[in-house]
Symmetry: C2
Subunit: 333 residues, 2 copies
């Protein structure tokens, strides 16, 4: 994520407010990613986990629990769980996408190999389930198991929807819920559950995470067409080259004339991409204001995230979460 000083503030403030919790979470992550027998595991994991991710998801878990007055330590186990699931999906995603760069660094599949990424991802999934069972709280296990299934289903859906020009905004939303929003909403929801929140509070935090996750992913998909490679930590145009049907392209295809449709068929459906095609794609997106339309959609989801916070206790954590919704879309605002 590319953050400027200004917009980073809510996330940093949240991390500052929850610093003792987050230190405990980081200690848990370091301890539990170890393997007595297979040193390859912490090598691969450390490469990703210590690559300067913002720990957004575990922060959400810890924030949700503390906002509802939780005084125990099980929210830390759940925050580490959520980060492990996230890291496992990143490892597998990079294999599936044949990615070479993540957060501005070479990917694990490039530094080691696909095999290590697949198996270490599996190990982290298993570790995440071990961590959550330590809470002894059956409902949080259900929420996280459901999230894991939604994530995998979304990834498969993305795989089969890729290159299919008939992909609708509804299918896109389902893919996004899988690949991003499911873990954001589960991260918030388990924080509320472990704190013994009311059904209304649990639902509110679920909805907040869902909306902020969708906003986050739409922004990511926009930046793939207009960001700066150094800032977004990957190469501009990756989604185009990988022939992914993201919201900007879906919008442009829906409004395409005959020549444009032929262009998308050749570049996305048939994968026949030539020099200058990315520029052509960008000019078509501009002609239909497809990035602007996606931006408005992201801002709408940020609004929904803020609105979802209504039933939750007022205070500095809620204020931060509300600002975070703005922060997520600030990269394209």
């Amino acid at each position: 994520m590319g953050l400027n000083e200004n917009v980073a503030k809510p996330l940093d403030r949240l991390a500052g407010m929850l610093a003792p919790d987050m230190e405990a979470v980081n200690a848990l992550i370091r301890t539990r990613m170890a393997s007595r027998h297979a040193p390859r595991i912490p090598e691969v994991t450390a490469h990703l986990i210590e690559a300067g991710g913002k720990r957004v998801r575990p922060l959400l878990t810890v924030a949700a629990a503390r906002m509802l007055g939780y005084g125990g330590t099980h929210h830390q186990l759940l925050a580490a769980t959520v980060e492990f699931i996230h890291t496992a999906t990143l490892l597998h995603d990079d294999v599936v996408d044949e990615s070479r760069q993540r957060r501005g660094r070479p990917t694990a599949n490039l530094l080691w190999d696909n095999k290590s990424s697949v198996l270490v991802g599996d190990y982290l999934f298993a570790r995440s389930f071990q961590l959550m069972t330590e809470t002894g709280h059956m409902q949080v296990l259900r929420i996280l198991a459901d999230a894991a299934a939604t994530i995998a289903e979304g990834e498969v859906l993305q795989l089969t929807a890729a290159q299919d020009l008939a992909t609708t905004e509804a299918v896109y939303l389902q893919i996004v819920r899988g690949k991003t929003a499911a873990l954001f909403s589960a991260a918030c929801e388990v924080g509320a559950e472990i704190a013994g929140g009311t059904a209304v509070q649990v639902r509110a935090l679920h909805d907040y995470g869902d909306a902020i996750g969708i906003a986050f992913q739409i922004v990511d998909d926009i930046l793939d067409y207009c960001g700066v490679s150094e800032t977004i930590g990957k190469n501009v145009g990756d989604d185009f080259r990988e022939r992914k049907l993201t919201l900007p392209v879906i919008t442009a295809i829906a409004a395409a004339d005959g020549a444009e449709r032929a262009f998308w068929q050749r570049t996305i459906e048939q994968g026949d991409q030539r020099d200058g095609d990315l520029d052509r794609a960008l000019s078509i997106l501009a002609r239909h204001d497809a990035l602007g339309s996606a931006r408005r959609s992201a801002l709408g989801w940020a609004d929904r995230a803020r609105a979802a916070l209504g039933p939750l206790p007022q205070g500095p954590i809620r204020d931060c979460l509300s600002e975070l919704a703005g922060f997520v879309v600030a990269r394209v605002a």
Copy 2:
């Protein structure tokens, strides 16, 4: 697995005794491997799950529970869980090993692609955790989460130990516990747990599964050097070509003279394999009776499996499990 009429009897008898349970398990597997959104998932899963596997692991779960007098239906959920975990590991294994054949049929990574195998495997892992949470039984969740971690750790260990001539029998045993015995022992143990077995009974079933799993894997490793391709459902010599340090090779390396050591260094360590090398490997294994030694080791684990059954209630299920220990090693006896 290649079974002749005679040795298949205990497994078939067990399946016959537990037929109503196994029908329910199979129905669960079919229902739960579905995905509303991503039809690729049941396609890939069905290819593997319906490929005529013997359902050994779910049979063990159901047998363990019924032997201890369980009258509920949660053991069926756990049996389906165990089969899902097994299928997920097969999908990922075939990607990691770049396998082209499994149970005599082309592998999913060959029929579809590596991406589908990775993601559908992840989906099945997640589904397995959903299934087990439906039991509401925290201890079985812990056992299965631990097993999943041991499996992944064993796979990573195998990856890094591969091609390393210094691999000892102890490391081999740890890899085998991971790749095979952990799920066999967990399958038995959760059956005992869900039935409310005593600590002694739970331990006995764990030990039985562990021993039978190790015997099973050693036999598999022996057959890779002396089986018949049609019967073992893969190609003889695959492990040699993949440069795996299995028990027969570890035994032969420990006893190797200078020329033999150079041979293993070239073929396994450096991966420089030429025409006639598999025959040379077989003659070196024969010279040190390495397959015979592995066979004796497998028979020893089968004995341990039978002995572990001591504290369990006598009856037809226990008799079948005892015979099953003999069946597992009958392929090399």
